[in-house]
């Protein structure tokens, strides 16, 4: 516990020092990243200890606010999320030292980065509703300042506003949620919270789903995500997408522990939310040609997969199928870890590309694998992992959820096939989407001048990517071990003792190992073939020509498939959901001179749901203009009359 406090202090100290040393970019990034890495190392010790079966502890410190208390604690669930947060943040901090070089204003960037890291850690260890909400709010604010870092850019300011409004609407729901719980318990301490009666419990569940769902990015609450993630610096996007949105998942799990055994409709709700988020998330991603925006939509998709796992878990608990519940929750928890690894890596890779080529627009990239082999290889591993291909980590967690759903289907549960269908569709579309992303960015010939001159990222940026890629492979190979590692958190979430189900679990996990081993053999065989090819080619004459040359007489890079054209068959198929806009001026005459074609896919929910709603609210607000007459005296009179009325109402 003392170590955890020390870790938080170290991180904050690093951030403050960075702010004070802001003038000197090098010193600031040393202080900011040093504090983050040191704090993470110190904080990982108690977290890993707790996860390895150490006793859960709580610590209470004096607190001078009249409400709540400073109580922090570590149990397996907190420890699991803490490990993910500290680990990814430390790697992102190392990456940031290279990424932020020459961007100016390093002091404030590091201060807010460290504040974000500390507040996320505090949020998952807080054991008091008031402290939790304070940490939650600090997390929102510090990430907001990172999103609007490029504040001379109109779109960054817009993204910041969207994020701030969405986050505060979510916090409003959370205030009500904790209000319900603490009214019943008579205290704001997490220990005192207990199950509510059935109707209130349902209301509390929906409030928690709305409040935490905004942070997690469930559709239709996801609108801030594709705006804010691209606007933030890339290492911050990695942290926001890799771990910050997971604090929403942590909140949901914590809320369910308070609320007790779940009724079946909670599971159905989660399943529905997960299926919609997953499928629409990946569809929206397919239609994007901004690399970071595409990745942001994939976060929505992966949060959907996690929600599907949670839905399977909840339904398993509700229908008395413990093994299904374990597999569902286990898959969801592991996917939290896995998504942090590969999505963190993908954003770091996208940042390296952005730094080297100066643009996030995929239509201006291409051929980067030859220029940035390390980044390209890491991006490839992460792309394969996010698609759920064996033997990488994404496969393990998705496979567990699949397994749970199959098991449920074999018991005749109608929700099993729903989850299977949704997961299969998501997986297929994700594969198409990452074929497009990797293919267009890294293969072929460069589509722009800056992409042609791109250079590999410095080691400070490469090293974290290599570590993350290694972890993706490791977790993929040791899937069963990884499940074993999260098992304390799993039994806390599911309320089941894992030891009772070990034989059944092992039997269920058999196919996982089989598939992993055969995938390894496939890669070994592939490596053998490559070796054979190079030995056969050794000493022979080889010609070199442009990729995708296609036998044209005078090919140019613009003849290649573009991101939009690659995705076009699929986006056409799902056009009713996407509300894409096309602007084109076709070639005219016998010797046409110019023709243009552009597509744009704004967020369907933003365009069709939120824009009309907020415009309506604005119109309604204009009707109250007559109150705004500019006389201070009358304003104060309003306040005075309201105060009087309230006093009379309470005391009269």
């Amino acid at each position: 516990m003392a170590l955890l406090l020390l870790a938080l202090l170290l991180i904050l100290l690093g951030g403050t020092l960075a702010l004070l040393l802001g003038r000197d970019e090098k010193l600031a990034s040393w202080a900011g990243a040093g504090g983050a890495v040191l704090g993470a190392l110190v904080g990982l010790v108690p977290a890993l200890e707790t996860l390895a079966g150490g006793p859960g502890t709580t610590l209470r410190l004096p607190w001078s606010l009249p409400l709540g208390g400073f109580v922090i604690g570590l149990d397996p669930l907190s420890a699991f999320f803490l490990v993910v947060i500290l680990g990814l943040c430390a790697l992102a901090a190392v990456y940031g030292t290279g990424y932020l070089r020459g961007h100016g204003r390093a002091g404030s960037a590091w201060f807010f980065f460290d504040a974000l890291m500390a507040s996320m850690a505090l949020a998952v260890v807080a054991r008091d509703a008031v402290l939790f909400l304070i940490a939650w709010e600090l997390m929102t604010l510090s990430s907001y300042f990172l999103v609007v870092r490029d504040d001379e850019d109109e779109s960054a300011r817009q993204a910041g506003w969207t994020y701030l409004i969405a986050a505060h609407l979510g916090t409003a729901a959370l205030l009500l949620f904790f209000g319900l719980l603490s009214r019943q318990a008579g205290s704001t301490s997490f220990d005192a919270f207990g199950p509510l009666d059935a109707r209130l419990s349902g209301l509390a569940f929906l409030l928690s789903l709305a409040g935490f769902g905004v942070k997690a990015g469930f559709i239709p609450l996801h609108v801030w995500l594709p705006e804010a993630h691209p606007a933030a610096p890339s290492h911050v996007s990695a942290v926001m997408s890799g771990v910050m949105i997971k604090t929403g998942i942590y909140g949901l799990l914590r809320a369910w522990i308070f609320l007790g055994p779940p009724p079946a409709w909670w599971g159905w709700t989660l399943l529905g939310v997960g299926a919609v988020s997953g499928i629409l998330g990946v569809l929206f991603a397919l239609a994007q040609h901004d690399l970071k925006r595409l990745l942001a939509y994939h976060s929505v998709e992966n949060i959907g997969i996690i929600a599907l796992g949670l839905g399977v878990g909840l339904l398993g608990s509700a229908h008395g199928l413990p093994l299904v519940a374990l597999l569902g929750f286990g898959g969801a928890l592991l996917h939290v870890l896995n998504h942090a690894l590969f999505k963190g890596l993908l954003f770091l890779g996208a940042g390296a590309v952005l730094n080297a080529a100066g643009t996030r627009d995929m239509e201006h990239l291409g051929g980067l694998l030859k220029r940035m082999p390390w980044t390209g290889a890491c991006f490839l591993i992460a792309s394969a992992a996010i698609c759920g291909l064996p033997p990488l980590n994404g496969f393990v967690s998705e496979f567990l959820i699949f397994l749970g759903a199959f098991l449920a289907a074999s018991h005749g549960a109608p929700w099993g096939p729903v989850a299977i269908g949704a997961l299969a569709l998501i997986g297929g579309l994700a594969l198409a989407c990452f074929t497009k992303a990797f293919g267009v960015v890294f293969l072929g010939e460069p589509r722009g001048e800056r992409a042609a001159k791109a250079q590999e990222a410095p080691w400070s940026m490469r090293a974290p990517m290599v570590v993350l890629a290694g972890l993706c492979v490791l977790v993929g190979l040791g899937g069963a071990l990884a499940l074993d590692w999260v098992s304390p958190a799993l039994s806390q979430v599911s309320g089941l003792r894992l030891e009772d189900f070990l034989p059944a679990l092992e039997e269920a996990l058999g196919p996982l190992q089989l598939i992993t081993i055969s995938a390894c053999f496939f890669f070994l065989a592939l490596a053998g073939l490559i070796a054979l090819r190079s030995s056969l080619l050794a000493g022979r004459e080889r010609g070199e020509s442009g990729t995708w040359d296609c036998g044209y007489a005078a090919p140019s890079a613009r003849m290649q498939y573009t991101a939009s054209s690659f995705a076009q068959p699929l986006t056409e198929l799902f056009a009713p959901f996407l509300c894409a806009r096309e602007r084109s001026a076709g070639p005219e005459g016998l010797f046409p001179e110019r023709a243009t074609f552009a597509t744009e896919t704004p967020d369907a929910f933003r365009e069709r749901l939120y824009r009309p709603a907020f415009e309506g609210a604005l119109k309604a607000a204009w009707k109250l203009r007559w109150l705004q007459h500019g006389r201070i005296q009358l304003y104060v009179l309003y306040i005075a009359l309201t105060l009087m009325a309230l006093l009379l109402w309470r005391l009269g």
Partner: protein, 214 residues
């Protein structure tokens, strides 16, 4: 001891009425200064048997601010901005005094219904606090000049301070935070506002600020 406290409280009530009835700005400022001095004495007299250094410091700080610094700043503003010395009320002096009496009745009635822990021996304290708050609000609403509004804020804040006195023993931090907030509000916000208003508009009539609305 209780006699002295009650006497002080009655004097505070009287200064409130004086502020309502005064027609000249300087008289208003003087009344508010006297009120500040009385309120500074009040915690010392109320806790004569249990004086602590912290309490004395609090009292000294608030007396210095309320009775010396703020009035001096306001008087200087009157001099330098060459404001007319009339108060220029929206509601006449007699009507203001009548309203003040009504406020006193209302505050007394409300104060008896408002249970405040620790204020049993100071039974006049809560009604006086409410009365002072009402008078402050009334000054802000019913007077034309920005300067009288600052006075209104000061009186309002005096009321809140009086209210906080009931808690002073249990929540000293709360009271101190309140004082800090007042300093910020009183000096910075209103000082800066006054300065800007008089510079931009050559007058200090807050009601003519409505020219600023869009």
């Amino acid at each position: 001891m209780s006699f002295w406290v009650d006497a002080l409280i009655v004097l505070v009530v009287l200064t409130n009425l004086r502020v309502l009835g005064a027609s000249r700005l300087s008289a208003c400022i003087r009344a508010v200064a006297v009120q500040g001095a009385l309120l500074g004495l009040l915690p010392v007299l109320a806790h004569l048997d249990a004086l602590t250094g912290r309490l004395l410091l609090q009292a000294a700080a608030s007396t210095l601010l309320k009775a010396v610094v703020f009035p001096w700043l306001l008087a200087r503003a009157v001099r330098e901005a060459s404001i007319q010395l009339e108060v220029e009320p929206f509601v006449g002096y007699t009507a203001s005094l009548t309203a003040g009496l009504l406020f006193w009745g209302g505050a007394f009635w409300l104060g008896q219904r408002l249970p405040v822990p620790g204020a049993e021996e100071l039974r006049l304290l809560v009604p006086t606090a409410l009365f002072t708050i009402f008078v402050g609000l009334f000054l802000i609403v019913a007077r034309r000049k920005a300067l009288t509004q600052v006075l209104g804020y000061l009186v309002l804040e005096n009321g809140i301070y009086t209210f906080g006195m009931a808690f002073a023993e249990k929540q000293p931090l709360l009271v101190e935070l309140g004082i800090l907030l007042d300093v910020f509000m009183g000096v910075f916000v209103m000082g800066i506002t006054l300065y800007h208003i008089s510079r931009e508009f050559d007058h200090l009539d807050a009601d003519r600020l409505s020219e600023l609305r869009d």
